[in-house]
Amino acid sequence: MPSNLNPANAITASRFLTLPPFLWAVDGGHYQIAGVLIVLCGVLDLFDGAVARAFDCVTPFGEVFDAIADGLCYGFFLAVLVGYRWVPWPPVAIILGIGFLNVGLRWIYLRRARRTVNYRSYAMERCVAYAAYLGAFGVARFEVDYFYWAFAGLLTIVVLHDAKRMALDPIEGPVEGAP
């Protein structure tokens, strides 16, 4: 098993470095810099998986860490944009609420599997890519209401769909300690 201290996880962790300058950019009204920082965070998200495969350092922790980084970074972007009233709060409240519900369901899945494992949801992977765009739509004032409310609806459908698989359906792969 490769170490968790590897280049891919370093790239994942480096995504957090975009958060303080993002706050500074929004606070100063530098919307284009804020947009570039969101894009940078998204590009780093694309690279960590590729680096993990290239350096043969794919680990279960890395997959979970990547999902946590997605939630923290995109959640932070949305929270800051709501705080500065660049985007409406009701759809963001729904998105963050559903996001926390999803974290809880993933925790239940981890407990059921009794090992570090990331629940793979093909639909949620698409939603995460959409979430990366949400921040950019907010800083560019790009059809904000349309894209935010549409995302809130889609995310609700996806999490309801995944909830059954994570909380009730049999776990794929071995369950640690199971006979």
Binding site: S121, A123, F142, E143, F147, I157
Partner: protein, 68 residues
Amino acid sequence: MSQAAFGWVVTALTGGVAGVWGVVDVIRLRRALREDRRQPVVRDRIFGSVIGLAISALGVTGAILYHL
């Protein structure tokens, strides 16, 4: 960069990516539909592609709405 130019950059990134995304998910959906749908993973892939197609349509529509 002016606000208008920035708007066009976001339009290109949104509409362009959404268009390509739609094509990729049509291919993935067709491939998944040929597999055994009793497998939970195959059903997940089909659902994922349907959500992907919905996102693609939203992206293209939103990019058009912005310029109307």
